[in-house]
């Protein structure tokens, strides 16, 4: 029997270990799995490498995880946020490292990691400081840099509807990094606004096939990061 549902977010993240690499879905607040991140803060794992496009907002969700000192390294494209000073302070003090990756290269590295493509040549970043330390190679007269596939121990993502098999559909631009992160992690953990039985999703419209998903937890009424930030909430 295949049923990937777990009872709550605590159970879902229970085995995330110190030193793990964790991909976290979301672009800004859209798609950010806040409840899973808060469960990870409660759970206590530390020395994490986190992959996310940003570094969170205010002092909730990803920003709260960083503020709690649990993140030793961020891999992201845009670590600045108008309303968060959490990452900048830890970065400047040297307590959190940063691997800055162009956004498209980040997405492609994650896809490659999930697809068994160990490395690829991309034109992005050629002739810029972000090319430093990377192999440059010319194909047909144009220059490219070698980028490596990126994988993770865990992915934490959010979706609109999941079925028991872990088939997922998303909501609008909250889809963003989640489908590729789901493919690149050893254990993909999903918070879903609704969970349905196999057969309730149209097989033509499934975005993430269940093979990429390991745990599904029902979070029917997730918090909005922007609302929490506006309320001045600081987690925990």
């Amino acid at each position: 029997m295949i049923d990937k549902r777990v009872s709550d977010v605590g159970e879902a993240v229970a085995d995330i270990f110190d030193g793990a690499t964790v991909m976290v879905g979301g672009f800004g607040e859209a798609g950010s799995p806040i409840e899973l991140i808060h469960a990870l803060i409660d759970q206590g794992a530390t020395d994490l490498t986190v992959v996310n496009n940003n570094t969170g907002s205010g002092e909730v969700g990803l920003a709260a995880l960083i503020k709690a000192g649990r993140v030793s390294k961020m891999i992201c494209s845009f670590p600045r946020t108008a309303n968060s000073t959490v990452f900048p302070e830890l970065y400047r003090s040297g307590r959190t490292a940063l691997e800055l990756v162009p956004q498209g290269t980040l997405a492609e590295r994650i896809r490659a990691g999930g697809a068994g493509v160990v490395a690829f040549y991309t034109p992005t970043s050629v002739g810029t400081p972000l090319e430093e330390g990377k192999e440059r190679r010319t194909f047909d007269g144009r220059d490219y840099v070698l980028e490596h596939g990126l994988t993770a121990d865990f992915a934490l993502i959010k979706c609109r509807v999941a079925d028991h098999y872990g088939n997922l559909v998303y909501n609008k631009t909250a889809r963003n990094f989640a489908p590729v992160m789901a493919t690149a992690a050893n254990t993909t953990i999903v918070q879903a606004k609704a969970v349905v039985a196999p057969g309730d999703l149209d097989p033509e419209t499934v975005v993430t096939p269940g093979i990429f998903v390991h745990r599904v937890v029902d979070v029917p009424d997730p918090a909005h990061e922007s609302v929490l930030v506006a309320q001045g909430i600081s987690y925990p």
């Binding site: 039985a197 269940g210 093979i211």
Partner: protein, 226 residues
């Protein structure tokens, strides 16, 4: 059919049935064209297995009732199939991302030859006038976690198909984990071919004689414990 039922050892369906016993509950499985396709119908009751077909479907079901098929719902062998509740369609690059990325648990394939090191040759005899055709076999063996092979133990002319070293062009080196033949179930181990199980009637010597490389006998559990 007469020939098949007359032969010693497992029939084609019995080979598929024996392989099916080793498919774990909850596995994501790709079945190669031919005898491997038959495995699905023998998976023991109570186990839920999700079948992948590389042309873009996870959750493949059995053949449709006659006249009920859709020519646009086919498997990798281009035969009409059905889908189960909870299926998902995707395009070819995503399908092979699943394969290459190591997301499938198990693949069952046919073989021309398997070497004692687990090399598989199953796409070409290398004959000069043959049209080379590889399909998805190389992708499957390089990506899927566990590779099972179902094959006759020897060729129609009696040559061993389990060999020291493949003479046919390889599909992939060191990829096969277990082999189901009409005579035996054989594991590929770091020490070479290791007998796991004999077909009814045949004995170790009978199988070893027909194997083109050393065949380690089945470990004697009694001895090992003493």
């Amino acid at each position: 059919m007469t020939q098949e039922t007359m032969s010693i050892g497992f029939s084609r369906d019995e080979m598929a049935q024996r392989a099916a016993l080793d498919i774990p509950d909850g596995a994501y499985v790709n079945l190669g064209i031919g005898i491997p396709e038959r495995v699905a119908k023998y998976v023991p009751e109570g186990r839920e297995v999700i079948y992948h077909t590389e042309n873009g479907l996870l959750g493949m079901g059995p053949s449709p009732e006659p006249g009920m098929g859709d020519p646009e719902l086919i498997n990798a062998g281009k035969r009409q199939v059905t889908m189960v509740p909870g299926a998902a369609f995707f395009h070819h690059a995503d399908s092979f991302a699943m394969i290459r990325g190591g997301h499938l648990d198990l693949c069952v394939l046919g073989a021309l030859q398997v070497s004692q090191g687990g090399d598989l040759a199953n796409w070409s005899t290398g004959a000069p006038d043959a049209i080379p055709a590889v399909g998805g076999a190389m992708d499957l063996v390089s990506g899927v976690k566990t590779i099972y092979v179902i094959t006759q133990h020897v060729t129609k002319t009696g040559e061993p198909k389990l060999v020291e070293s493949c003479t046919y062009p390889l599909t992939g080196p060191g990829v096969v984990d277990r082999i189901y033949t009409d005579l035996a179930v054989i594991d590929v181990t770091p020490e070479g071919f290791q007998l796991a199980e004999l077909a009814p009637v045949v004995d170790y010597e009978y199988v070893a004689e027909r194997t083109g490389a050393p065949l380690l006998p089945k470990p004697d559990i009694g001895k090992a414990a003493s």
